[in-house]
Amino acid sequence: MAGNPFIARGFHSRRPAAPPGRLPPGQYETRDFPVLSAGPTPRPPLAAWDFTIRDSEGHSVRWSWDDLRALPRETPTADIHCVTKWSKFDTKWEGVSVDTLLAAARSAGVASNPFVLAVSDGGYTTNLPLADVTDGKAWIAFGYGGEPLAPEHGGPARLLVPHLYFWKSAKWIRGLRLLPDDQPGFWEQLGYHNYGDPWREQRYQGDP
């Protein structure tokens, strides 16, 4: 597009005042919880639901819904940032730390690899460095705001990685693949940033 953009008289971006330092660049605060999805909402029966961590050699460990719910739980509170520019402060979750699951995987002989591909019902995937889902940075969340996580927000369970743009927090998660090489996920293949740090405004490939 050549030339200067046409500015719409009296149209303003939604940027209500937020405490300094709390909004990453280009974001605005919302009180709603907008729903974004790349496909229809899967509604898997919990009796058939499972969660699997698998390495590239095919070693894996599997949790049923009841197994997952029996693990020690955490209740993280976090600000979340969507690449479509909304941020939501102090969201309250309940789930199992990915550290807990990876420790169990390691003792079951699943090889640790430097990259993770999260895979979900409906075919959605997203990739992250292993370092970004360890040391208390990521959870498999099944509760939100004191309630079971609603299907439109990713229930029965979603990945929660609040320090990265929210598309990395895969809804309807069913497993993690531990990979020796990085493998771009659903949006990462299509020009979204491979890492997605909101504080460095890494929205698209080519952003710093």
Binding site: V35, S37, Q189, L190, Q205
Partner: protein
């Protein structure tokens, strides 16, 4: 709000498609690589909202076409569409 109440269809992607194709593509007959059924692009289910255009087969939900506009250019993945017929005259 349920995702299914928010989905749109291929008509809403007509503008994004015309940024890439010389023709209107909503009347193009597209064959799904998943179930081999053909549909006009206009009837495909359109998800993705503000992140991009995600067009899925109305019969089997296969992702048939994906488009994301970025500052560096437009990304398009049509690997879920085996054939596209662009009619000579739109019906």
């Amino acid at each position: 709000m349920r995702v299914e109440e928010m989905r749109l269809d291929g008509n809403a992607a007509a503008g994004a498609l015309r940024e890439i194709f010389a023709h209107d593509m909503t009347t193009a007959l597209v064959t799904c690589a998943g179930c081999a059924r053909a549909s006009p692009m206009g009837v495909l289910m359109n998800y993705g909202g503000p992140m991009g255009v995600i067009l899925r087969c109305p019969h089997c939900d296969t992702v048939m076409l994906r488009i994301v506009s970025t500052p560096g250019g437009r990304y398009m993945d049509a690997s879920g569409s085996s054939v596209m017929l662009i009619p000579e005259r739109p019906t």
